[in-house]
């Protein structure tokens, strides 16, 4: 079950060369509910809904894979580094504890 979520992949610096190590941030709008908090009005427990897996794929090769638990903040950010290795595509796949699978990709074009 896929649901549309706002997400963003940011690469710093914007212009990079082949072989350079760049900073990659992945942001996603997600409630990250722990399942232990109560709704203030209805006094009902808010069911757990959190991302449990994030994978960074670059040209078909997995570079980073993360196992995530409840303790990440709402609308989480994942920042790491990546070595540019030719033209291609960076794909981020993230899975939810309820079985929701989503994907976000960004083209990578090194200059020079």
């Amino acid at each position: 079950m896929a649901q549309k979520r706002k997400s963003l992949i940011k690469i710093k610096p914007k212009k990079f060369k082949d072989g350079e190590v760049v900073k990659v941030s992945f942001m996603v709008m997600h409630p990250m509910a722990t399942g232990t908090t109560k709704d203030k009005k209805t006094k009902q427990l808010i069911p757990a809904k959190f991302i449990n897996s994030v994978k960074f794929n670059y040209n078909g090769k997995e570079i980073t894979n993360m196992t995530v638990w409840e303790a990440l903040s709402t609308n989480p950010v994942f920042t790491t580094y990546m070595k540019i290795n030719g033209k291609g595509k960076l794909t981020v796949t993230y899975t939810d504890n309820t079985g929701e699978v989503n994907e976000k990709s960004k083209k990578i074009k090194p200059k020079g």
Binding site: K38, T64, T67, W69, E70, S73, V77, T80, K83
Partner: protein, 154 residues
Amino acid sequence: MQRRDFFKKLGVVAAVSAVAPVMSFAGDKPKSKNAMSYATAVHAITGGKTAKKSAKVKLKVPEIAENGAVVPVTVNVESPMTSSDYVKAIHILASKNFNARCIDVNLTPANGKAMFSTRIKLGGTQEVSALVELSNGDFLIATQSVKVTIGGCG
């Protein structure tokens, strides 16, 4: 200050103080199936090996976090990141959260630099640690205590 200005400001203060308790820690009544204590989590990751304290691991967390719901954490590890010597995994742990594990990051030499940064929730004043697994099987650890003024349901 005029009278009407005073009432405007009073309204803002009231709104903020009404919202703040919503984010309070829910206590240990509803238990998550993922609940795991700090010692168990460390043992599960290291498999009984002792983690050495090291200056190579740089953990950056604010000493005083005003809002426990959003605490920025940055882990930087000095490593050449070549195929023979690299950082295999970075684990971020919070000692008093009901589930001590926050995130496990598995890195590869293709990362080029061993760094990871995110934002976590903390249920109260506690210690945050970064447990680093190297490619040769060694474990390094860095710990810092964080004072939380408003808990963040974590």
